[in-house]
Symmetry: C2
Subunit: 327 residues, 2 copies
């Protein structure tokens, strides 16, 4: 690969001059400028990021750390973040933190070796890592003390679920709550509980991981049939429930309704289409990079908390009294 030196020699100038024309960091005469540019393109010059980063301490690279890529929510977030980052001149590196806190910590460490300027981070659990990070981080999807955070209104989403359930005339519900180690899952649950209080009866609650593959206990609970509504902590769980129900020849939504959370693409691709709470995922992604950007400009601003609105998207997996009346 051609270096500054190569370009400088080809253009018959010093490397400093080349650097200055390429970075517009100083006024250079048009003629020299021309020569340099010509030589650079002719040689296919591309700056060496390692050298630049080493010298300046800035990499113009940010990382997005997500728990896993199997939940389509995260690829969607990746796309949103990448778009916004690129607009601001930042490259994005995507890192899956895997399943354990140790794994996550290790990946975060490795990112500091790479001297990323900052990270957008969906933590695997609430417990903040003991040591401080070597770079600014904005935490997404869940609050974490001391960090900039951007997440949707999980509590309100949970409340909306309960409200909708009540409006549809449901009473007995099976709750598939997400990992309660996560503040986001707790908030969804709390919002739901608050909305349900005295109106909805939780016949069973199963704490399940955010995966389409439900644990045995959840499958058993699903086969009890002592409920008319299944509330999933997110779409992936809800789709897993839908699958189990369908397999057991339960008619959704006629016999049992199902509610999700997130509104991933696949929520409207399954049959019946999933009624769910929509998170404004694109806005969350772009807001996260904006917040990170601001912090990179000024590391001393106070941690900022952004909470995004959620909306109920009614589709086919819940029945309403109205619909039933038509049948």
């Amino acid at each position: 690969m051609a270096t500054l030196k190569d370009v400088a020699e080809a253009a018959g100038v010093s490397i400093a001059t080349v650097s200055h024309v390429l970075n517009r960091s100083k006024a250079i005469s048009p003629e020299v400028r021309e020569q340099v540019l010509e030589a650079a393109t002719r040689l296919g010059y591309r700056p060496n990021r390692s050298a630049r980063t080493l010298r300046t301490g800035k990499s113009f690279t940010i990382a997005l750390v997500v728990p896993d890529l199997a939940n389509p929510y995260f690829p969607e977030l990746v796309q949103a973040v990448e778009r916004s980052a690129r607009v601001l001149g930042y490259a994005l590196v995507v890192v899956a933190s895997g399943d354990s806190k140790e794994n996550e910590w290790e990946r975060l460490q490795m990112l500091s070796e790479y001297s990323v300027d900052g990270v957008i981070w969906v933590p695997i659990s609430d417990c903040s890592h003991q040591g401080a990070l070597a770079f600014p981080a904005v935490v997404v999807d869940r609050p974490l003390a001391g960090f900039d955070v951007v997440y949707c209104n999980h509590y309100e989403g949970g409340r909306l679920v309960a409200e909708h359930a009540i409006k549809l005339g449901h009473r007995r519900v099976l709750l598939l709550s997400g990992p309660q180690a996560l503040e986001s899952a707790r908030m969804r649950r709390e919002g739901f509980m608050a909305g349900a209080a005295g109106r909805l009866e939780i016949v069973s609650e199963q704490e399940v991981p955010f995966s389409v593959h439900l644990p045995e206990a959840a499958i058993r609970a699903l086969n009890e049939r002592n409920f008319s509504l299944v509330v999933g902590a997110n779409d992936v769980i809800a789709i897993g429930a839908l699958r189990a129900l369908t397999k057991a020849k339960v008619d959704v939504p006629r016999q049992v309704s199902v509610l999700g959370f997130d509104d991933i693409t696949w929520a409207s691709m399954v049959t019946p289409q999933l009624t769910t709470i929509r998170q404004p995922i694109n806005d969350i992604g772009s807001e996260a990079v904006n917040v990170l950007y601001d912090r990179l400009q000024d590391p001393n601003i106070l941690p900022r908390e952004t909470v995004m609105p959620v909306t109920l998207i009614e589709r086919e997996s819940t029945f309403t009294a109205r619909k039933r009346g038509r049948e």
Copy 2:
């Protein structure tokens, strides 16, 4: 962040010594070794990758370049590749090449700035880029002249689809073929056509992008109802078709059968579960990194071509004469 120099001072030795104990690059006395290690952990020393890369020319980082993350096939590939890469001591950076050849080329260029050691690349189209890449690349999912390639047997997969269709007694089929600019899509189509010759009648063929969102023309074709089978070039397309059919109140598979390709996770999460051709995606991912690894060891070996076997996974979206007989 602590540097070698800091550690050296803390341990009372030279930076060369520190480097040698940390890299095991020379024999160092146990006592000194101890001191150095202690100082390093105490200071939380982490090597600076930029400096190391600059000095050695090797980054121990590979990139995976995929067209987009919206097709769940790619996140699955990411996971497989990441796992294998990590085992070999390589970090993975994930890059989405976006929708255009220009975009893709730009991303590839930027990767050379980052001096990745090599890339695993799912090209956006067959036309090889004019200029050569600055690093070794193994091309995945489709053949590309001059490169190491690993992909599944698309042709055989297509043939299997035709064979299965015939076995089930179908005759009139709607073919939703993928972008014919892609050799992989062409091979699937050719395999299908070869298997179909004289036995299956293509009442309509629509060339559609690899997306759940089908173009208008495809939706119209789907509403013609002059076929008993829809063949999708991949699962995402097939699921899009399933959705359109369901929406139009067509009973799948009783009235119309649907066949996919890939066997992504979601193929078994939709209703009815999709009958499809399974690609061994984990094997493809790990084989790709192995091939890349070999090439990194010896850049002069001849380009290698690995083609992986495919299998038909029969689920619920196709009906068999047998099943119908039972009803």
